[in-house]
């Protein structure tokens, strides 16, 4: 399999110094990133592209928020939950953020156990990650339901600028879709780990390629990215 990570690079002659050395390393023989497999490189470049998607979404939202002349609803009030007789601001979002960041922790542990060939622990940790992700999406559904029942719509809301609802549903919806896809693929990869596909070299159903435990790490890259994006959405949408 071509995807194996490179361990030995034969180099007989000294490298050029300075910037020329940087250019020479980048343009060197056969692969630019020596210890990066194809799948991992592809995921990194995809995430770079996806960063631009989320960047454009967030910049558009910020433009809308700054240029509208109607007051913007106060996030501390809008996203508050009425618990025990008082309004607790941002409590749901805090829990959601905690859940998602915890899922990054379990994902990291899954990657670790994957490289130790510990199939059982890897699969369990991945399923735990998926469960936390599904919890996040569930809480998001709850949040949407609450806001919708209070009269927030993509085209308007009771408290101020119409762009509040449109941006909120668009950005959290797009992020939630990412989490949902992540959960689905976590379950698929966990199943492959559990069944031992990466030990037996069983070819993939669609691609007919053999996978390796590195797929767990590539899955993890995506998951951490989705998590990181949430931090920015949290900062720019809820805390601003």
């Amino acid at each position: 399999m071509a995807d194996t990570t490179l361990t030995h690079i034969g180099r007989t002659q000294p490298r050029p110094a300075g910037l020329q050395g940087v250019a020479a390393d980048w343009s060197s023989d056969q692969r630019a990133f020596k210890n990066v497999s194809w799948g991992k490189a592809m995921m990194w470049i995809f995430l770079l592209s996806d960063t631009f998607v989320f960047g454009c979404f967030l910049l558009s939202y910020m433009t809308a928020r700054m240029s509208t002349r109607v007051p913007w609803p106060n996030p501390s009030e809008v996203f508050a939950l009425h618990i025990g007789g008082s309004n607790v601001p941002l409590i749901l979002i805090a829990i959601m953020t905690f859940v998602l960041i915890s899922s990054s922790g379990t994902m990291a542990m899954a990657v670790n156990f994957g490289y130790r060939r510990d199939r059982r622990k890897t699969a369990i940790l991945m399923l735990l990650t998926a469960a936390l992700g599904a919890t996040f999406v569930g809480m998001q559904a709850f949040e949407w339901t609450k806001l919708i029942s209070e009269g927030v719509r993509p085209w308007g809301n009771p408290w101020g600028a119409a762009q509040f609802g449109s941006s909120f549903f668009m950005i959290t919806g797009f992020h939630g879709t990412h989490v949902t896809f992540g959960v689905i693929f976590l379950i698929i990869v966990a199943r492959k780990v559990w069944r031992g596909d990466y030990d037996t070299g069983r070819p993939g159903f669609f691609t007919s390629r053999r996978g390796s435990y590195e797929n767990v790490e590539i899955m993890g890259l995506y998951w951490h990215f989705v998590d990181l994006v949430w931090v920015f959405i949290f900062a720019f949408f809820y805390l601003w």
């Binding site: 071509a2 007989t12 990133f33 497999s37 194809w38 592209s49 240029s67 085209w155 449109s166």
Partner: protein, 589 residues
């Protein structure tokens, strides 16, 4: 640059043999194929088919402009639909798809010495989603209200309002959905192209030994992966504005005497998003053309490319700069003078790396053994056309010149020269150049000569007068130009002349298409390397290359791609996979 490995040394294999998917049936071999070469042909055929639609639309527009009042069926609404679909199809569904999906898929694996793209299955999906995008686009012609007539830039608020064809019907929605699909499909292919170039090369193939074709396609793909997200976001947001009634781009607005439900949105935001994609898009089309034309010139002038290293850095530099010039498309939208100054400056700076490339092409030709083959004719035509189109770009890059010229035919002439005609000329040259590799037979020379001269001279007869009537003040986007003070009798004569030329150039393309089909059976046998070229795709054991490209053993690369007419060598070209010290000291490591 210091040579890292001696010319004859065989570097150890860093990239192991890749597992190929072996097709089991006719369907998986020719239809749902995972072979990049088949996918390339599928991409090219689809792009050509939809491009023909755009060509016919351009005839209809020119008939209306050249002979106003003669063709009753071309209503003002229909005219705007033609102009929109012509622009969108040509820029995205033809040029982008053909350069990256077509040439990228065919040439990248062959030129870097790989068996296939790194993830063939994803590559196959890329094509099928592209086809779906094209079908959605075509379906808008048959939808109630017809396709959108918003202009290819789809500027809101007019794009989704009643007065615009398709604005309150299906047209604009199908357009946006089609674009979103295109971007998803392209991303799948684009990731493949980038990773294949970065991580999947054969032994000895350093990045600085890549043919410039690969450099051009590679850089353009990276740019596309970073620029298309902006269009994606703009499309999603406008789709919501249209379908859900949000107001991302819609200000408070009165339509037909009625206050619409929208309010508080920013049409300028759409323009920023659109042009953050739209300007890099110009270079997404131009950079593969730059790369391909470098290889055509070097091969057909039997000389190494002049300043290879500078050519590479110019491609990368143009790619980077093109992300900081987008607002020069928005001078007439109104902006702070300092922003105008900034964007005018960055725009003019792009002329520097571009000029480096033009000088290097000319210096490659200097005292070369120039063979005036059809690919070479097209390459030479590209250089002059690109310089012509580029020079008017320097005019339009300046705010004070752009503002009065922006809504005239001068702009139409400018961008058709620089990003319409010029890249298309390269596409033709490239097809004449690589057709023998794809089919094993040469394209017919006589038909090729006819096609070249009519296309080249015809394009100038179309677009040179258009600059002139633009400077006279003839506006663009108007479906009828009679009864205007700027439309003097002589200007209308020129206008009719342009239309007749457009029909003739269009006819020449029919000859070309006939040639493509005719030569598959009746063309002269080409052999494996008819142009005596150095790059790896000409060194394959079979022509056309079989599945897996290179037979049993992948080639090992010992030299750069431009060892032509090396003194002391037996032949006037040394293939990249030929060991030995001839010429090795001349190329970069």
């Amino acid at each position: 640059m210091v040579d890292i490995t001696p010319a004859d040394a065989v570097p150890p294999a860093e990239v192991a043999e890749m597992e190929l998917y072996h097709p089991h049936s006719w369907w998986t071999k020719y239809v749902f194929s995972q072979d990049a070469k088949v996918i390339a042909i599928q991409y090219s055929a689809t792009a050509t088919a939809i491009g023909l639609v755009a060509l016919v639309l351009s005839w209809l527009m020119r008939l209306q402009l050249g002979f106003p009042g003669t063709f009753d069926f071309i209503t003002p609404e229909a005219y705007y639909q033609f102009i929109t679909m012509h622009g969108m199809i040509m820029v995205i569904y033809l040029l982008t798809a053909l350069f990256l999906g077509g040439f990228g898929n065919y040439l990248i694996p062959l030129m870097v010495g790989a068996r296939d793209m790194v993830f063939p299955y994803v590559n196959m999906l890329s094509y099928w989603i592209y086809l779906l995008a094209v079908l959605v686009l075509v379906s808008s012609f048959f939808a109630p209200g017809g396709p959108t007539g918003a202009g290819w830039t789809l500027y809101p608020p007019q794009a989704i309002m009643t007065g615009t064809p398709g604005g309150q019907d299906w047209g604009i929605m199908l357009m946006l959905i089609s674009l979103i699909l295109f971007i998803i499909g392209f991303t799948m292919g684009g990731l493949n192209y980038v990773v294949t170039v970065l991580q999947g090369r054969t032994r000895g193939m350093t990045l600085m030994r890549l043919p410039l074709t690969v450099w051009g396609i590679f850089t353009a793909t990276v740019m596309a992966l970073l620029a298309f997200p902006a269009l994606f976001v703009a499309c999603v947001m406008m789709l919501f504005d249209r379908a859900l009634g949000t107001s991302f781009f819609m200000p408070a607005i009165v339509e037909m005497g009625e206050q619409l439900q929208h309010g508080g949105g920013s049409p300028i935001l759409f323009q920023h998003l659109f042009w953050f994609f739209g300007h890099p898009e110009v270079y997404i089309v131009a950079l593969p053309a730059f790369g391909i034309v470098s290889d055509l010139i070097s091969t057909h002038a039997r000389k190494n490319i002049f300043g290879y290293r500078m050519m590479v850095w110019a491609i990368v530099g143009i790619g980077a700069l093109s992300f900081v010039v987008w607002a020069h498309h928005m001078y007439v939208s109104g902006m702070h003078p300092y922003f105008g100054f900034f964007f005018a400056t960055t725009t003019l700076i792009i002329a520097v790396p571009t000029a480096i490339k033009v000088y290097n092409w000319v210096l490659t030709l200097w005292r070369g053994d120039i063979h005036l083959t059809i690919p070479m004719l097209f390459a030479l035509a590209f250089i002059v056309t690109f310089v012509n189109g580029g020079l008017t770009g320097l005019f339009l890059g300046n705010v004070v010149v752009d503002v009065p010229l922006s809504d005239t035919m001068f702009v139409v002439a400018h961008f058709h020269m620089v990003m319409g005609v010029a890249p298309i000329l390269v596409i033709f040259g490239a097809i004449y150049h690589w057709y023998p590799k794809v089919t094993g037979r040469m394209l017919n020379e006589a038909m090729g000569q006819f096609h070249f001269w009519v296309t080249f001279l015809g394009a100038y007869l179309i677009f040179f007068p258009m600059h002139y009537i633009g400077l006279m003040g003839v506006p663009r986007r108007y479906n009828e130009l009679t009864d205007m003070t700027v439309m003097t009798e002589s200007a209308q004569h020129l206008n009719s002349f342009i239309s007749i030329m457009a029909l003739m150039v269009g006819f020449a393309q029919m000859v070309f298409l006939f040639n493509l089909i005719w030569s598959i059976r009746h063309g002269r046998e080409a052999g494996g390397n008819p142009w005596r070229a150095t790059t790896l795709e000409w060194q394959t054991p079979q022509t056309p290359p079989a599945h897996g490209n290179f037979g049993k053993e992948l080639p090992i690369v010992y030299r750069w791609a431009y060892d032509y007419s090396v003194p002391g060598a037996k032949e006037d070209f040394i293939p990249q996979n030929m060991p030995g010290s001839f010429g090795s000291s001349r190329g970069p490591a």
